[in-house]
Symmetry: C2
Subunit: 318 residues, 2 copies
């Protein structure tokens, strides 16, 4: 109902009388007043003037489900949204929801996280209302060995969405760092629940520095606000991320990883460079020559031997 | 307390007076009586004779935690036990407990399952008090790519435990079937929760036909009772399984997969045979020539090409 009231207020310029809204929506004046109060509590600046009615003066910068759902136009991704002001980690909730059978495309959003997670148990700084902290449940019928491709797919989708929403050009460092001007803008964490040969579900976690100010950014980190020197509309950006993921995911399910890999090559800053890789129990150094169809990084060491790395920490050598 | 009462009754031959037990354990006669009633409700046959006291006449064939814990002598596996009479699936509970941070070695036991799971969403028939339906949480710090070795480890441990507890010789069909005289005796289901390069935890599910009668067995299935023509002590067998897993798992953590693979070769009926494999999105036929260090099956087709299969359904060709 609050969604419908907002819709009405957004469509009409100027004041809309309480009578018009309540008769249009088939609710009492008293019920309308209660909903308006709740919307104000959520941060909506709604002015009420006797004899004139209500006017929407300003919307809060909140990732509220009905704001996200408004004109989202996806069929799958973000159709079900769990929204939280503050939670330990969107990953924990999404893994939980996944086990309970939440449908593919379900997302968990938080305005802030107290224990935001990065890869391998590292943290992710998640100040309130400043970033996008999102976990997405997917249920592709693939082998868990193919999971890394979905990490690439998410990183490509984020770069496309940033370009679309802000005009800025983000880059990708293999496997999961979103960079701008060589500083970290975001990261992706992929976790899966699977049998050895069949995915049950995977959760793709996205952490993106949107409106963080310089003071709250770590060294070597940046935010879209810092780069653009203006506040970014988080709702619009998030919607665009969900749309790009849906498009790329549908394409992946129909045609395989080819298109994702190709797009990834265009956005990446890793290929062609000399890199040090700290992977699971092994370290190697060499030239990152290409990416494989399963998302693995092919590194040629100085003896000419090519190794494929499925995940690890990459340092670009100067 | 019930555990201590049972212990006292088990140690002493003949009757033990209520006074002796209650003063030994520091509880009132009334409290003792209440505990005795509860033990009887769990199926313990405890006789009470005025002026003589209590005598344990018979223990139920139940996988009750304090029966399992009695002289188990493991350090890790089975130290924490969740026991249920009837649940949909021990896997679901164990995955849940794993997410909540349950310690390594935690096991979930059920006397029966209404939705017992096999590989790829298949069912597992789990009649009450007749089988061992067990899920074990492990947290090895390995890559998810190494998970299949732990399936082999579990199957080897089961064969060793069956031999130890019953003298019967079980065999293994790659990857997860426990056979006796070419009939299915048990199966193993491995599920994992992981990042692309780091296991968070894995759940090893074991379903074993122990005291099932011919009538409740599917075609091509058998039970230990059918093979031995006598009832098997489920508690003793389960304890032995936990002990064997602990020993093999410690060995694996210290020295890698070599010993497990070697034992597996001794128990397996797949290597050297012509097989058809239906793996993830592919089918192939050839000779199963060996098993790799990561648990993958090496199959040589008629053109001489060797492929490695990480998981799939194997049919032995005649």
């Amino acid at each position: 109902m609050q969604e419908k009231i907002l819709e009405t207020l957004k469509i009409k310029p100027g004041y809309v009388s309480g009578e018009e809204i309540s008769s249009h929506l088939g609710i009492s004046r008293q019920a309308l007043w209660k909903h308006i109060q709740e919307l104000r509590d959520s941060g909506y600046d709604i002015v009420a003037v006797p004899h004139l009615g209500y006017k929407l003066h300003g919307s809060p910068d909140r990732l509220l489900p009905f704001e996200i759902g408004d004109k989202l136009n996806t069929r799958l991704i973000g159709k079900k949204i769990y929204y939280h002001e503050t939670i330990p980690s969107t990953m924990d909730i999404a893994l939980q929801k996944g086990l309970e059978g939440a449908p593919e495309g379900t997302i968990v959003l938080a305005e802030s996280q107290t224990k935001g997670r990065g890869r391998l148990g590292r943290g992710w700084v998640s100040p309130k209302y400043k970033g996008i902290y999102l976990s997405l449940i997917l249920r592709p019928r693939i082998s868990p060995l193919q999971a890394p491709v979905l990490t690439l797919l998410a990183s490509v989708s984020i770069c496309e969405a940033i370009k679309e929403a802000t005009g800025l050009e983000a880059k990708i460092k293999w496997p999961n760092d979103i960079l701008m001007h060589n500083k970290k803008l975001g990261g992706i964490l992929t976790e899966l629940s699977a049998e050895t040969d069949q995915m049950h579900f995977m959760v793709i976690g996205i952490g993106l520095n949107v409106n963080l100010d310089k003071g709250s950014l770590l060294e070597h980190a940046t935010s879209l606000k810092e780069e653009k020197q203006e506040n970014i509309n988080r709702v619009g950006l998030l919607q665009e991320i969900l749309r790009q993921i849906e498009q790329n995911y549908n394409n992946f399910l129909k045609k395989g990883s080819g298109a994702v890999i190709e797009k990834w090559r265009n956005y990446n800053v890793t290929l062609g460079h000399r890199v040090k890789v700290a992977a699971h129990k092994e370290h190697l150094e060499g030239i990152a020559i290409d990416i494989d169809t399963d998302g693995g990084l092919l590194v040629r060491n100085d003896s000419g031997l090519v190794r494929k790395i499925m995940a690890g920490d990459v340092t670009h050598c100067r």
